[in-house]
Subunit: 119 residues, 2 copies
Amino acid sequence: MQCIDIERKLGIFSDHWSPRIIANANGQDIKLAKFSGAFDWHAHDDADEMFLVIKGGFTMEFRDRSVALQEGQMIVVPRGIEHRPVADQECAVLLCEPAGLLNTGDGPESDRTTSGEWI
Amino acid sequence: MQCIDIERKLGIFSDHWSPRIIANANGQDIKLAKFSGAFDWHAHDDADEMFLVIKGGFTMEFRDRSVALQEGQMIVVPRGIEHRPVADQECAVLLCEPAGLLNTGDGPESDRTTSGEWI
């Protein structure tokens, strides 16, 4: 029951595509991540994923369309839908998704695969 | 799979203590609410509640302490813990909580009781 300061948490890490966990509520982890460049195409068969842009912007690519998101905008990617976030410039994003979810989805793992560490 | 603009959603309503639903992910509703003044003391026996300040600030009062929150700060109120938000000035808050949750908790309902409407 303490104040969680997003700006302060973002100052703790600098690497990209490696979400950090800042809270949990009802089995959902609240994570912060920094995006830069293109991530891997992937899907989560059993989990929806919420992305809220904290700073900057990125594009969520789907196989048949793209959705551009700026600060203060969010999207929910439904379970089972292939997607990949792409950021032309570094941006900061808040995610809400089931605890333990791997960022690279249900396919093969890569050197970027993580379920996040608490900060 | 569309862009949800928080600022635009906040422009749709003006009443206080009446959360609106803007998204759902994994059974959790993402809501926006405007706070002003003091809300009712309440608890949710089976639900954690996440509050993220979008604009302004408010204080989350507990029976034994208070936590002040400003824009860009968040708190998770664990299930079963009595709390009431108090805002000296109007503020805007993003909430994440199980779909159907009543804002006044598990106690008696009041004229402010709602689980929120989609906008």
